[in-house]
């Protein structure tokens, strides 16, 4: 009982209660199933807020630890070990926050096999929470791999026309990286006689030549997930084919698992390899920023445009992380949240209009703002947030990252930051181009052909919380930075 009542255990596994209830419901009771899923995710969000109240932001260490011996025989020191600190608290909150929003967005969009959809969705939430909370490498690996399974089904069952291709590609690509990480985890566990992350970090002392190999093995898993250029090619396929809620979670949370992985594992575990590779990662990140932005501009499909913009935005996060100074890293953590909010909002909004028109081609739209003024306004705010307009969240994150990257000793040259700054301008170009083609000007063929309605209350309710946070972070980011500052400082002690 004591085991189950740990706040973090409850937070991770509560969605299973919903799964259990839904499992015994009739599959044609669609609305009831939706309500159960909604209630479950809302309660989970409530638990995450409770965790936030228990969290001490001035404490740089892991908190609210739930630690029990799990497989503790024959030299296997594997623990069930969940804990949260300043590096992960925001991502935990983001996950708990985005899941009910995604569930709400499926209310009318998913009519087929609602029961299975909600079961997979709730299982996905368990996996994501586990990834951000697990402090034992074995446990982490299980959660990490497990998230693939529900996401694979979400894309493959409810996706677009090329969904099978996209689902299998997503699965194999991601698995390719994580199996290398598996070997590195086993190596570390063998060497350190424990799989517990804090203990392994404290032990340190991994020989330099080995460190680089382990760093690469972990980085393979995380870089594919982020995705860093040139490992990004699964992302556009997965995003375009995934159902809206899947895209939101994919962009909002799953990609962050990659950047979080670098932050949680690579940087503290392999300090000398991190220092050596920082310029190279900065180089790849910069290429990703420019490449993602350029390719976004060339897209005819609006969902693909947003998907490539993720490559660009996550490039900023990587640049910030490997600046290896307080500004860079805290900017990167904040930018992870920002990207989840603004890209999540963009995917939701695109999904809402797609539900009515069933096309995502930019050029067939036009003049949407006149017909759907509320939709247009919300879209504009989200777009501006995504391109980093001052006063909105994106600006705070990107600015802090660039500031960190300019002065970074680890990266060694201000040029990376300088070139990356061009990416911000390019973002403005492709986002505004998209907005102009779709929302301004004369009404396009699709706009005329359909009797389009503006957003209804449910849809507004879906995006409104995201908008609120865009303004909050944009205008007063201090509380968010305060949550992570001590933990970031502690992380940087070795550098």
């Amino acid at each position: 009982m004591e085991f189950l009542l740990q706040p973090l255990t409850l937070l991770t596994f509560f969605p299973l209660m919903g799964v259990l209830v839904i499992l015994f419901m009739k599959s044609d009771a669609k609305n009831a199933i939706r309500w159960v899923a909604m209630a479950t995710t809302l309660i989970t969000f409530g638990i995450s807020l409770w965790v936030l109240t228990l969290f001490t932001s001035s404490n740089p260490d892991l908190q609210l630890e739930a630690r029990y011996a799990w497989i503790n025989v024959a030299g296997w020191n594997i623990y069930y070990y969940l804990a949260v600190d300043g590096l992960s608290i925001l991502l935990v909150l983001l996950t708990a926050f985005l899941t009910p929003i995604s569930v709400l967005s499926t209310w009318t969009a998913v009519e087929d096999r609602v029961k299975d959809f909600m079961i997979f969705f709730l299982l996905l939430e368990v996996g994501m929470m586990g990834v951000f909370l697990a402090q034992d490498l074995f446990l982490f690996y299980i959660f990490w791999e497990f998230t693939l399974v529900p996401m694979y089904f979400l894309i493959g069952l409810w996706g677009g026309p090329r969904r099978i291709y996209a689902a299998v590609k997503f699965f194999l690509y991601t698995m390719a990286g994580s199996i290398l990480m598996l070997l590195a985890i086993i190596w570390l566990g063998n060497q350190g006689k424990t799989f517990s992350l804090p203990e392994l970090i404290a032990q340190g002392g991994i020989p330099e030549n080995v460190q680089m190999w382990l760093f690469i093995a972990f980085a393979a898993a995380f870089a594919i997930k982020v995705p860093m250029w040139p490992l990004h090619s699964w992302l556009p396929d997965a995003h375009v084919e995934a159902p809206t809620a899947g895209s939101v979670i994919l962009a909002g949370v799953l990609l962050k698992m990659g950047t979080y992985g670098f932050l949680r594992f690579n940087i503290p575990l392999f300090p000398s390899a991190t220092l050596q590779s920082a310029p190279w990662i900065a180089l790849l990140a910069t290429i990703g920023i420019i490449y993602g932005a350029a390719v976004s501009y060339a897209q005819a499909d609006v969902k693909k445009l947003v998907a490539y913009s993720s490559v660009s935005h996550l490039g900023f996060v990587m640049l910030g992380l490997f600046a290896l100074n307080a500004q860079g890293i805290s900017g990167a953590i904040l930018q992870m949240v920002n990207h989840g909010l603004s890209t999540g909002a963009l995917f939701l909004l695109i999904g809402m209009v797609y539900e009515q028109t069933h096309t995502r081609e930019i050029k067939v739209y036009g003049g949407l703002w006149k017909i759907m003024p509320v939709f247009g306004t919300i879209m504009l705010i989200s777009a501006l947030s995504s391109m980093g307009l001052p006063g909105l969240n994106g600006f705070v994150g990107e600015f802090t990252i660039l500031l960190g990257a300019f002065g970074s000793k680890a990266i060694g040259s201000p040029w990376y930051a300088g070139i990356s700054a061009i990416g911000v301008i390019m973002a403005a170009i492709y986002i505004l181009y998209m907005f102009q083609k779709m929302f301004l000007g004369p009404a396009g063929e699709i706009t005329r052909a359909h009797n389009l309605r503006d957003l209804n209350w449910r849809e507004i309710l879906t995006v409104a919380p995201l908008l609120a946070f865009m303004f909050w972070i944009g205008l007063y980011p201090a509380p968010f930075f305060n949550l992570m500052a001590p933990a970031v400082e502690k992380l940087l002690i070795g550098y």
């Binding site: 799990w70 497989i71 503790n72 025989v73 024959a74 296997w76 074995f138 690996y141 299980i142 959660f143 791999e145 497990f146 693939l148 399974v149 089904f153 493959g156 069952l157 969904r163 099978i164 689902a167 299998v168 699965f171 194999l172 698995m175 390719a176 199996i179 290398l180 598996l182 070997l183 086993i186 190596w187 566990g189 063998n190």
Partner: protein, 478 residues
Amino acid sequence: MQLDYKDFFIILPLTILIAWACVLLLADLFIPKERKGITAFLAALGLVVVLGFTIAQTGHQGTSFNGMVILDGFSIFTSSLILLSGLLGIALAYGYIKRMGLERGEYYTLMLFSVTGMMLMTQASDLIIVFLALELLSIPLYVLAAFARPDLRSEEAGLKYFLLGAFATGFIVYGTALVFGATGTTSLSIIFGASPSLLLTIGSALLLIGFGFKVAAVPFHMWTPDVYQGSPTAVTAFMASGAKIAGFAALWRVFATAFPTPSVDITEVLWVLAAITMIVGNLTAISQTNIKRMLAYSSIAHAGYILMAFVPYGNKEVMPVSIAAGLFYLFSYVVTNFGVWGVVIALEKFEGAGLGISDYAGLAKKYPALAAAMTVFMLSLIGFPPTLGMVGKFYLFRAVIAGGYSGLAIIGVLTSLVSAYYYLRIVVNMYMREGDPVIERETWLDITTAVTAIATVGLSFFPQWLFLLAGSATLKWF
């Protein structure tokens, strides 16, 4: 030589089993043709009783018949696993052979004889007994493979298995002879202390080839796809796990306890064997369209993973971990394997229909529980959480890395990435393509599939006791 009760205590379970098999052979004559189910129940009863005796031997150790047979944790673990395979094999066969018109009482009796041979194999501590056990386990299997006569594919499978199996036995006998020539003995514990010689190395290499045939390691795997495909599916299921356990038990026992001396040379050979077994098994499985053939290649690939963990066997520190990991993996493989074959049997129709991978299209819509079970098994075979297969692979890779063979481990993980592709294809068919499959339902089949699926997921959360068992059942040097 004086025999006392202790000698018989050591081989008590298999004595009971073979006596029971003989009784059943006679009793079967009096069981009417339409009620052969009774034979199945009697055979299963025998296995349960013997399983009880085997487990009751836990903690006892010793050798008997002048060091010819041995009882230890290793033999108890593997014997129990073999008995479990026998039970699951009967559960799968019960409805299947009735439905396919193959129901003859000998089926179960032959299975019992084969199980006895497998159990003797795990207890053999002399190369002569290895040979004896090998024949006892193989000959009933040859007959079972051809059990669907006059179906040509089944006859072909039986003949092919027989010819190649006999060939493999030849290698073992010849290897035994050379080892005897080098050391003057066939007893494993005495061979252990022998000084290294070329003859000994060649002898052990020949033995390795023989065992390689039995566990279906590349390049000695040629028989596997045809035999797996042609044999009645219930036989394939039993063969795929039972024969594999026995083969690995013999391989481990002989090499770990008798041949540490030539390990310098053998390790390199094992390295190559494991690598090509994983590569060929997984790559060839991709192009299969028949599920039985695909699973045959998958079983080859899994033999490769287990072999991979055994590569560092010459390292005294790592060898027990290698074998414990192998034992753990065999357990998870047995559980998953019977589940998979249960699903295959549920879809199979007469004349080999319903065995195409495309026949699985649309399964999830009509039979969601069956499709979910199959998904669990596929994930377990890939080595994905939350399944037993993932914990097992973790253990295997740990042994290889502890032995310092990271290159081999990388080949291992890359080939399991390849395997994800063909296992996922079944999931894709079941869930994401339209189709109208019809399944055969039968109580014991349903129970087997359900129990193995639940065990595959459930035990992955509570693997401690299995770790302990496998860890304490491992082999040590004399």
